[in-house]
């Protein structure tokens, strides 16, 4: 049993009352209009509403300074919200100090205690909870086996590689069976191959333990690989909260479209909107159709198309255009063409490197086309 966490000092009536005020009943973690300012002038987190379901793997993704880490720190209790409320399992936790929240946390640089052995590190949360030595030992062993690090008990953290240290940090954060696991860019310091391996490992642990995870990263591929849902942060706000595929396929604004994956952007002005389809005039080069996601007649817009959704010389397509090849880059599994399309010379097309592919040369003019569903008119 975890001690000190939750509403043990509150009556059941009080708990009911709190539940009433929470907007989303099913939420395990709820942010209700949470705000944070450090200097009293600029809000780094702006009126944040976010609900995390029990057992969910939610990732907060965004560039540095977007407010994602601050949000995580408020959840962990290291920063106090200057506005709004945070609920955990139905109880308001704004004023509960971090050590009473019972949350497991994994830090960017592992934060293993350098003067303790691996076993002492992992046993630390059990020791501060006064769990008996025999119990603690078996839990530590299980936790280390879980992260495949059994047999290193006597070593000091400095004797371990980065990946090993990260596993130990994970074991330490999980050994006391926390309500919630928070991870603050835990793989940031690892090399690419190890990082990918650890992503699958963390995902597997999440699935076997069924624990709720809130994960912070600025690496979009990491977010796409592991998450049930991703909250894309920018400028202190959640730009879009959706599952990985929805986020990639259906970005709601141009920031998300740009931040997740690669995107071609065609700037233009909306001429008219008919049945959810916008006609956008791209400079003087022509007019194309796009799904009207965030478009108003007469206002400027950005039409976004994924490079891999553009086809070369399609038999038939919703939208057709002519592109002049500016640059050809051979990348093994695909060929990357930089083209001038409708006056935009940064237009990228990815062509699958099949056995019957045609050759490309700089200066060639090729017909290209894409489906209307892959083409979204977004905000500027």
């Amino acid at each position: 049993m975890l001690r000190g966490v939750g509403p043990d000092n509150r009556s059941d009536e009080g708990r009911e009352e709190i539940n009433m005020t929470v907007s989303t009943q099913s939420g395990y973690v709820v942010f209700d209009k949470v705000e944070k300012t450090y200097d009293g002038r600029v809000l780094v987190v702006k009126s944040l509403d976010l609900t995390v379901a029990r057992g969910e793997f939610l990732t907060m993704l965004g560039p540095s300074g977007s407010g994602k880490t601050t949000t995580l720190m408020m959840l962990a209790g290291f920063e106090t919200a200057t506005g709004g409320d945070i609920y955990l399992d139905g109880a308001k936790i704004n004023h509960i100090p971090p050590h009473k929240r019972g949350l497991g946390m994994v830090f960017q640089n592992y934060a293993l205690f350098p003067h303790m052995t691996i076993a002492e590190n992992v046993a630390f949360p059990l020791k501060v909870r006064n769990i008996s030595k025999a119990d603690a030992e078996s839990k530590v062993r299980k936790a280390l086996e879980m992260v495949q690090m059994a047999g290193l008990e006597g070593r000091k953290p400095a004797q371990l590689s980065g990946g090993q240290q990260q596993r130990i940090a994970l074991a330490r954060a999980l050994v006391f069976e926390p309500k919630l696991l928070l991870m603050d860019e835990p793989l940031g310091a690892l090399d690419k191959q190890l990082r990918e391996h650890m992503q699958y490992e963390i995902k597997r642990l999440h699935e076997t333990l069924g624990i709720t995870v809130v994960y912070v990263t600025h690496d979009q591929s990491e977010a796409l690989t592991m998450s049930d849902r991703i909250a894309v942060f920018n400028d202190g706000r959640i730009q879009q909260l959706a599952s990985p595929d929805e986020l990639y396929e259906k970005p709601q604004n141009s920031f998300v479209a740009q931040f997740i994956g690669e995107n071609n952007q065609l700037r233009g002005v909306v001429k008219d909107i008919l049945g959810g389809h916008a006609r956008v005039e791209i400079g003087s080069s022509g007019t194309i159709e796009a799904l009207a996601i965030q478009a108003e007649i007469g206002k400027p817009t950005i039409v976004s198309v994924r490079p891999e959704r553009v086809e070369i010389e399609p038999a038939s397509s919703d939208i057709a255009a002519i592109g002049r090849i500016e640059e050809v880059i051979y990348l093994g599994d695909h060929i990357r063409l930089r083209m001038n399309v409708l006056g935009n010379s940064e237009f990228i097309v990815k062509v699958r490197n099949g056995s019957n592919r045609r050759g490309f040369a700089v200066g060639d003019e090729v017909k290209i086309g894409w489906s209307l569903n892959d083409c979204r008119a977004l905000d500027v």
Partner: protein
């Protein structure tokens, strides 16, 4: 098969290639090496040497020394010994007129009142055979063995008597070791007091310095730079001025007493005695040595990752547990370095206790200075200083065993 490589030739080639670099490196450190040798190793060597060697007597009276060494220190002295003593003492004046006085002073340290008897011998012009009777006629003391026993003690050049004296023991003419009489036994007391003062000063410095170092290490850069300047400010002021400032503060008509009287906490007739005693020594030394504690602790605390404490808190440790079990152990290298530095400096501290310590606040270094400047007993001063050095080295060894010197971070 690999082509066989001539291992020896290879080693030789490497040595040749590296020799030039080695010579260069050696030439670079040579000036410092010579300086250290001249200013540190040689003086310390001579210090240790002088603590066990004093040839004033043996140089002036070589024959007498030999005869004294042969004497059993009980039976009446022989005519031969007395004759040699008188003639050699008289003759020593020809080389350097100050020699007889020096010899007398050396003997006087073992038996007070000897100087006047030596003077009588020097002033007497009619000393001839039989020397023993003539000398007894001059002063009855010459018949008693005491004077001769004192001379027997000081006559050997190599002697442990200074080291014994430094720990309040004395050498008898028979070569036995006896405890010093109560009126002379002050060295052990001073050693003890010095160690206690050094330990207390170290303790207070650690107690006062830790929070300041913490503040310095965790404040914003602007604030911490400002604080650091305040910490370093004392370094830019003369030690003498700082110590004297404490006199102005603590004396009976000083600022602190005036203030306490003004706010009515103490009566004007019962002003506190805070100056020229142990209290003043402790306060002033703690103040002077505080930066040596703060700086190493600060530099270590600066490297402690803030995430560690956060991790401890997130794992359920109370703020106190997080500090004590996670933060504090990380500060040990800095704390250890600071303590070692302050302790070693405090053990040898001289000016501050000399100025503010009065009688009860005097430390071992003050007695060393006393022997150097007042009694001119350099051998005893050397012996005490050597013992102090050995004590500090022992502590250093102990520290290395407990904390590990490689973990020490000074700045």
């Amino acid at each position: 098969m690999h082509p066989t490589i001539d291992q020896k030739a290879l080693t030789r080639q490497l040595a040749t290639a590296e020799r030039r670099n080695k010579i260069k490196a050696f030439l670079l450190v040579l000036p410092l090496l010579l300086f250290v040798l001249a200013s540190f190793i040689v003086p310390i060597g001579s210090l240790v040497w002088q603590g066990g060697y004093s040839d004033t007597f043996a140089n002036a009276l070589p024959e007498t020394s030999k005869l004294l060494a042969a004497w059993d220190a009980k039976s009446p002295v022989s005519e031969e010994l007395v004759k040699s003593f008188v003639t050699e003492l008289k003759a020593s004046k020809l080389k350097d007129p100050a020699t007889p006085t020096r010899v007398a002073t050396v003997v006087n340290r073992e038996l007070s009142g000897s100087v006047s008897k030596f003077k009588q011998v020097m002033n007497a012009s009619d000393l001839a055979s039989p020397y023993k009777e003539k000398l007894t006629a001059l002063n009855g003391e010459w018949e008693k063995p005491d004077l001769w026993r004192a001379m027997k003690i000081v006559s050997p050049s190599f002697t442990p008597r200074f080291y014994l004296q430094a720990v309040d023991l004395r050498l008898t003419a028979e070569g036995d070791v006896k405890p010093e009489g109560d009126e002379n036994a002050i060295h052990l007391l001073l050693f003890g007091r010095t160690l206690m003062v050094a330990a207390l000063v170290t303790f207070f410095c650690a107690l006062l310095g830790f929070p300041i170092a913490y503040l310095l290490a965790h404040a914003e850069t602007k604030t911490s730079n400002m604080l650091l300047i305040i910490v370093l400010l004392p370094f830019w002021t003369s030690l003498l001025v700082r110590t004297t400032a404490w006199i102005a503060l603590l004396q009976q008509n000083g600022v602190v007493n005036d203030f306490l009287v003004a706010i009515g906490l103490i009566d004007n007739d019962h002003r506190l005695v805070m100056m020229y005693n142990m209290f003043a020594t402790l306060v002033a030394m703690t103040h002077v040595l505080l930066p040596f504690m703060i700086l190493p602790m600060f530099s270590v605390m600066k490297t402690i990752k803030p995430n560690l404490v956060r991790a401890a808190l997130s794992l359920g440790a109370t703020p106190w547990t997080a500090f004590w079990k996670v933060y504090f152990p990380q500060t040990i290298p800095g704390l250890g370095a600071g303590c070692l530095l302050v302790f070693i400096l405090a053990v040898g501290y001289y000016i501050t206790p000399a100025l503010v310590g009065g009688q009860s606040g005097q430390l071992i270094s003050n007695i060393i200075a006393f022997h150097m400047q007042k009694t001119l007993n350099w051998s005893l001063a050397s012996a005490i200083a050597t013992l102090l050095l050995i004590g500090v080295l022992l502590l250093y060894w102990l520290y290395n065993r407990l904390v590990g010197i490689d973990k020490m971070k000074l700045a």
